[in-house]
């Protein structure tokens, strides 16, 4: 410290000094003082001593002397700072000045001791002003910390002795004032703070922490009384004592807030509580004080970005209907003009815009006040209050909108706060019945949307929550309002919605998809939406992958899948295949749809179910071109055979048929004794028919000797659903194969079975698909088709070589009845049919073997599998133009002739086909014309005639059919 220790004051010198001054009259003392003030040179102890004497003697010179003291302190501080800055060259505070300072401070304390009450006010004003002045003067100094760092600044100044002394004087004065007349103790503090901030803030901070309660309270109340005087006292009556000329509302408010903000740093709760207390119990018992306090506080907040957020929530909790009514009454009593109300409203609006934490609460509160039938703590609110708040809210909304549009890129607290609650607002918007409140919620949401990236969240939320037509209208309106200011809005809304979809509960997800779907199908004639639908679908294309993904997530969201499929249909029905981007998307799209289709079948859906219908619809839509058709077809069919689950649907037999004994034996894990089984079977057969005696063969599955007899298997699915499934799949493929002109009526189950209905190209693809499907169904079948893939029919005798493979095909067809349907379909195009003729050939081969080997004379019953297959084969051969009329009609009487005769006829047909192969190069567009080929049918028909002859009693009437007219 550069301040030297207390200098020894010479007693004799002191008496001499006092002699010189006491001898002088007051006037001479004044002259002496004035002269010494202007004289050059620094303070000497003599001069200071004389000043002190003058202070004691001449009251009129008080200000001048105190002013001189200020300069003394300033001087001392300057030398101190010099010393810190230039250690060696500056000597610091000289002993003389040090002792002078001591003298001054002692004098002042003496005065305070003698008549503290009187001097405290004066010295308080003086010391605070001196502190301010010295702080301001030193602001340029390097050693003084910048005002931003308050703590540093505070500790710095507290270490400077003269400042310390001044501060001590000030604190003592303040203490006396707080004890005696607290009303005016902070006036000077406010004033100094206003003129010397921010370099003076450390004093405020120090004093504030010394007397936090008193200072906060006094600052608040002093500001209030000044504010009241300025605002509510007519100009002519303005008491001049407490308000200086250059004070106005603004300066008062700023100085109050500056001090409070400082105190807030160290005592946040105290400041907040005092403010709230002031609101709760307004000063003085006058009737209108409550509204005055309110207005004052509001004005205060309007200039303080710190205090407002800290207290917002406390106030919102505090306000209820009674308080509001009371305030309103008082406000009316103040006899304010409409402009005042407008000002007040704009002030409120401003405050709301500025508030940050708690602003959401505040806004909700404001909106609650506008409710026509308020509940809770707002019950019983005056109508007038309500109308005022309505005005405020509408103003607020306008302002917020402006702000939101203007400050798009800035981070404003009020927006972050309200944005967090957008879900609540959305709910309110949708639920609220009152139109006006609806408008406000709507506006509020608009604000959130205007601000930054919340538009997509809000819209997607509304989209999720909407569940009536009117809600969707709100959505559309909202979209139309926000879209102009938000680029790619729809895009982001959809993206957001679909991103959130997996996280939503089933209900929400359902409603979201329903809404999107109904928007897609929006009737624009009823509610104009300016091409929204088209845009929506266009944008949906961007999220089509998400939709496709949703279709696959069946186990979780099975209901959603149908909606997704519907949406997909909407998209596809209005978008060109090119836009769909099928090149890359076709495969996943088809995969999921196929997956969905089989899912539907598994869950027991029938043809006429809505879900199945929509699935059909979208698949049909997808198969508009032969190329896509081929892919869809392939996937559909392959899925039906490669996955065991699926093939079961159509009747594949996988489960062994067991009787109860066998079941129990297998369950017990016992090995099956073949001999026992044989004996058992023998006993059974003896019991059944007495005809067969001796050894009864037991068929044993290849490679499974020792396991037991070959088991018959059955399909776990009921016959009924099997046929329904088959019908479903074949109907789908029928629909898909139709020519793509116009929409297919899904409700009609009948498709005219004529050649013109179907697209011949598609049929070709279908044929390929069937072949490949059979190929992939099992390795054995693969060899059947691929090795024997030629469409040539060999000599009838050679067929025995391939009998095993043919049998497999035969059973494949039996287990997948839909293939028959498809074959019938393919038969419309003889080229396509030609490709699948190998399947027919295999069947015929099996049939031939069967009928040949049958030695019974009676015809096979109509229910027998072989009979049925034989008729089907004959029909197919006729339809597919491999066999001409009337030869192809022989199937009509298979049930009336003996098996051998059937085999004879089948051999005839075989031979015909072998001798008259279909021309592979013929265009698929034209039907095969047998007439043009100039075929001699007579040798083949002769066989038929023989058979007819042999059964002339039953089949005589058919004879004319097989006569060839030459």
């Amino acid at each position: 410290m550069p301040v030297p220790s207390n200098p020894i004051v010479d007693g004799t010198m002191k008496t001499k000094q006092s002699h010189t001054t006491s001898k002088l009259g007051p006037q001479q003392m004044v002259h002496w003082f004035v002269a010494s003030s202007y004289a050059s040179g620094s303070f000497t102890e003599e001069r200071v001593r004389n000043s002190v004497a003058l202070l004691h003697r001449v009251p009129a010179a008080r200000n001048a002397v105190l002013h001189r003291f200020t300069m003394l302190f300033e001087d001392a501080v300057r030398s101190h700072l010099d010393h810190i800055e230039f250690q060696s060259t500056a000597p610091g505070i000289s002993p003389e000045i040090a002792s002078s300072l001591e003298l001054v401070v002692n004098t002042l304390f003496e005065l305070l001791e003698q008549s503290g009450k009187a001097w405290a006010t004066i010295l308080c004003n003086w010391s605070v002003e001196a502190l301010g002045q010295v702080s301001s003067c030193s602001k340029q100094r390097q050693t003084v910390p910048p005002p931003g760092n308050l703590g540093h600044l505070l500790s710095f100044w507290l270490n400077v002795v003269p400042m310390r002394m001044l501060l001590d004087v000030y604190r003592t004065c303040l203490k006396i004032l707080i004890e005696n007349s607290p009303q005016s103790c902070v006036d000077s503090l406010l004033k100094a703070s206003a003129s010397h901030s921010p370099h003076f803030d450390w004093v405020v901070a120090d004093v504030g922490s010394a007397f936090p309660d008193a200072i906060v309270e006094r600052v608040l109340y002093t500001g209030f009384s000044k504010f009241c005087k300025l605002r509510w006292t007519p100009m002519s009556l303005q008491p001049s004592a407490s308000i200086t000329m250059n004070e106005n509302e603004q300066t008062i408010l700023t100085s109050v807030t500056r001090v409070l903000e400082h105190l807030f740093l160290f005592h946040p709760s105290k400041v907040c509580n005092k403010i709230v207390d002031m609101f709760k119990t307004p000063p003085s018992g006058k009737s209108s004080s409550h509204i005055k306090v309110t207005l004052y506080l509001m004005n205060l907040f309007s200039v303080s970005p710190v205090l407002l957020p800290a207290t917002t929530e406390m106030f919102v909790d505090l306000i209820d209907a009674t308080r509001l009514n009371n305030l309103y009454k008082q406000f009316q009593k103040l006899n304010r003009s409409p402009e005042e109300i407008a000002n007040l409203s704009s002030l409120v609006v401003h405050l709301v815009c500025k508030s940050s934490s708690g602003s959401a609460k505040l806004i909700s509160f404001l909106l609650a006040t506008t409710c026509s039938k308020p509940t809770g703590k707002l019950q019983g609110m005056d109508k007038g209050v309500c109308s005022v708040f309505s005005k405020i809210v509408s103003l607020l909304m306008d302002d917020l909108k402006h702000m939101a549009l203007k400050e798009k890129n800035e981070t404003s607290n009020v927006f972050t706060e309200i944005s967090a609650n957008y879900e609540e607002y959305c709910n309110n918007l949708l639920i609220s019945c009152s139109t006006s409140r609806k408008t406000w919620w709507y506006d509020l949401l608009l604000v959130i949307c205007f601000y930054k990236s919340y538009a997509n969240s809000v819209l997607s939320y509304i989209l999720t929550e909407a569940n009536t037509h009117s809600h969707l209208e709100i959505f559309l309106q909202f979209y139309n309002d926000v879209a102009p200011v938000t680029p790619d809005l729809l895009d982001s809304v959809l993206q957001k919605s679909f991103q959130s979809l997996p996280k939503l509960s089933t209900d929400k997800a359902l409603s979201l998809l329903t809404n999107i779907n109904s928007l897609c199908a929006w009737d624009e004639a009823k509610v104009p939406s300016e091409g929204f639908k088209t845009r929506l679908i266009k944008k949906l294309l961007l999220v089509i992958d998400d939709i496709v993904l949703m279709v696959c997530k069946l186990p979780i969201k099975k209901h959603c899948a149908k909606l997704c499929v519907d949406i997909l249909y909407q998209i596809m029905s209005t978008t060109s295949t090119c836009d769909l981007g099928l090149g890359t998307r076709l495969l996943p799209l088809t995969q999921s749809l196929v997956y969905y289709f089989y899912y539907l079948l598994h869950t027991g859906h029938k043809n006429n179910d809505a879900a199945m219908q929509s699935c059909h619809r979208v698949l049909v839509q997808l198969t508009q071109t032969p190329e896509t058709f081929s892919v869809v077809c392939r996937l559909l069919l392959e899925a039906s055979v490669t996955q065991e689950d699926n093939s079961v649907l159509f009747g594949k037999r996988i489960e062994p048929e067991l009787d109860e004994n066998e079941m129990s034996e297998i369950q017990a894990g016992r090995k099956v004794n073949l001999l026992a089984l044989h004996q058992k079977a023998k006993a059974k057969s003896i019991f059944k028919s007495s005809l067969s005696n001796g050894f009864v063969p037991v068929s044993v599955e290849a490679g499974r000797i020792g396991v037991g007899p070959k088991k018959k298997k059955k399909c776990p699915i009921s016959q009924e659903s099997q046929s329904s499934n088959n019908e479903c799949l074949s109907l789908l493929l029928y629909r898909c194969s139709c020519k793509t002109s116009g929409n297919i009526n899904l409700n009609s189950f009948t498709i005219p079975d004529v050649r013109q209905t179907f697209d011949s190209d598609k049929l070709l693809h279908l044929a390929d698909c069937i072949i490949s499907t059979i190929t992939v169904s099992s390795p054995q079948l693969a060899t059947t088709i691929t090795l024997d893939g030629d469409t040539e029919w060999p000599s009838c005798n050679t067929r025995k070589l391939t009998i095993e493979r043919d049998l497999q095909i035969f059973y494949f067809l039996d287990e997948h009845p839909f293939v028959w349907q498809l074959l019938f379909l393919i038969a419309h195009n003889h080229c396509a049919f030609n490709k699948v003729s190998s399947i027919i050939r295999s069947c015929m081969s099996v049939l031939l073997s069967h009928y040949e080997s049958d030695r019974y004379q009676t015809p096979l019953p109509e229910t027998s599998l072989h009979y049925q297959v034989a008729t089907k084969v004959m029909q197919l051969l006729g339809k597919g133009k491999l066999v001409p009329e009337p030869l192809c009609f022989v199937g009509q009487f298979f049930h009336q002739i003996s098996p051998f005769e059937v085999s004879v006829l089948l051999t005839t047909v075989w031979n015909f086909i072998k001798e008259h192969p279909s021309d592979a190069e013929q265009s698929s567009e034209n039907q095969r014309e047998f007439k043009l080929e100039n075929i001699n049918l007579q040798p083949f028909l002769t066989v038929v005639h023989h058979v007819l002859h042999a059964n002339i009693t039953n089949l005589g009437y058919l004879f004319s059919t097989y006569m060839v007219t030459k």
Binding site: V30, V34, Y38, A60, H67, M245
Partner: protein, 417 residues
């Protein structure tokens, strides 16, 4: 030098003003007078007319210089008329510009004049006080009270000394004091619930000491405004007579009510004591009041010259001027009734009520006998009727022979004055 520059410009302006006021007959003077006065605020007080840019630019030191300079000038100016005109030109409260600041400077000037015993300044101030609106006068007086009775330890002696060189100032000072300190707020007001600053309406101990000192030292002081009415005073007072709220001519009314109301002083005032220069022993508030009461009675007894002067018509040309009018006495009775605890019953002996009524009786009796209060016996009887009855009041109102309702208790005549 800055110092010279300012004082020089002040001196120059004053000299110009002096020139204007001393040659009033000059035709061109009136024009330059207005111009000069308008320059006063600018040059002397450095206050701009417009109050948006108003910045107080006089430093405290310059203020001190200015007051000193003005004091010296007024003292040196021998021509009484010119002196007052210049004083008025500087500090007239009729001019709105820089009013508060000029008033503050005036307070300092007067304060300095008191300590430097400058009678010229004080005389000017006395006339200014008499001819100015009361609120401004009270402001000045209060600032002097603060200076000499509150802040200065032994400032009272300076004020006391004023009687030696400017009795008229003391007289006006008294009028202003008594009109400001009405002594009306007391415990009673508190009971009603009106929150008032308890001590606002009561003079402090030192002030009371000064007042009693003046009254005892020179009872004629109260009449010096009437008796020493010279030409200048008459002119100025007549010109400002129509002022709505000015001070009365003498402090009699105020002093009378002070004497009567003192017994109701709030408790906080009664406890402290002071020692004065004349009397070594500690004096309490009530001691000082007894002295003051005694002094006031002496003042009433010394009213002859004033009454004569009034009768002659030398005081504002109004021979019917009342020193203490019936209305004023009536108002005092009203105040007394509101202060008394039991207005109807006979007050307890030794209570504040009794003392107050007794003092009222004494004052009234002497005032009536000295014809300060022009009031017949009957009129006084009806005037004092609502008051609580004390023996003394009965005697004053009805004479010693009337048998009163009050018990035969020996009348206690205050021995200490």
């Amino acid at each position: 030098m800055n110092q010279r520059k300012y004082t020089n410009s002040v001196q120059e302006l004053i000299r110009n003003l002096e020139g204007v006021f001393s040659n009033q007959g000059n035709a061109s003077a009136s024009y330059s007078k207005e111009a000069l006065i308008s320059r006063i605020d600018d040059v002397i007080f450095k206050q701009r007319g417009d109050w948006i840019s108003s910045q107080q630019t006089l430093t405290p030191l310059e203020e001190l210089e200015l007051t000193d300079e003005l004091g010296l000038y007024l003292q040196e100016q021998k021509h009484e008329y010119v002196r007052y005109r210049i004083f008025e030109a500087l500090f007239s409260m009729a001019r709105e510009t820089a009013l508060e600041y000029r008033r503050d400077i005036l307070s300092k000037l007067v304060s300095l004049a008191i300590v430097s015993k400058s009678s010229a300044t004080l005389e000017c101030a006395a006339l200014w006080m008499k001819s100015t609106e009361k609120s401004h006068v009270v402001h000045l007086v209060l600032s002097l009270v603060t200076d000499y009775c509150v802040l200065q330890q032994n400032g009272a002696s300076d004020l006391k000394a004023c009687i030696d060189f400017s009795p008229r100032f003391c007289c006006i000072f008294l009028i202003a004091l008594t009109s400001h300190y009405t002594m009306m707020s007391s415990e009673k007001c508190k009971e009603v619930g009106i929150i008032v600053d308890d001590l606002k309406d009561w003079p402090c101990l030192r002030l009371l000491d000064i007042v009693q000192h003046w009254l005892l030292k020179d009872p004629a002081i109260c009449y010096c405004t009437a008796t020493q009415m010279d030409k200048l005073w008459r002119t100025v007072i007549k010109a400002t007579h129509s002022l709505p709220d000015s001070l009365s001519l003498t402090p009699l009314d105020g002093l009378a009510s002070w004497c009567v109301k003192t017994p109701f002083a709030p408790m906080s005032l009664l406890a402290p004591v002071i020692t004065t220069e004349e009397c070594a022993e500690n004096l309490t508030y009530s001691d000082l009041h007894s002295r003051m009461h005694y002094g006031f009675l002496k003042v009433l007894l010394a009213s002859k010259p004033a009454l004569k002067a009034i009768a002659k018509g030398s005081v504002l040309g109004n021979p019917d001027l009342q020193l203490w009018s019936k209305q004023q006495a009536h108002a005092l009775v009203g105040d007394l009734m509101s202060l008394c605890n039991h207005s109807d019953a006979t007050p307890l002996s030794g209570s504040a009520d009794e003392l107050a009524v007794d003092r009222f009786s004494q004052i009234s009796q002497i005032a009536m006998s000295m014809r300060v209060l022009n009031c017949t016996k009957d009129q006084f009887q009806s005037l004092s009727d609502p008051l609580p009855k004390t023996r003394l009041l009965e005697i004053v109102a009805y004479g010693p022979n009337r048998r009163s309702s009050i018990d035969e208790t020996p009348m206690e005549i205050s021995t200490n004055y």
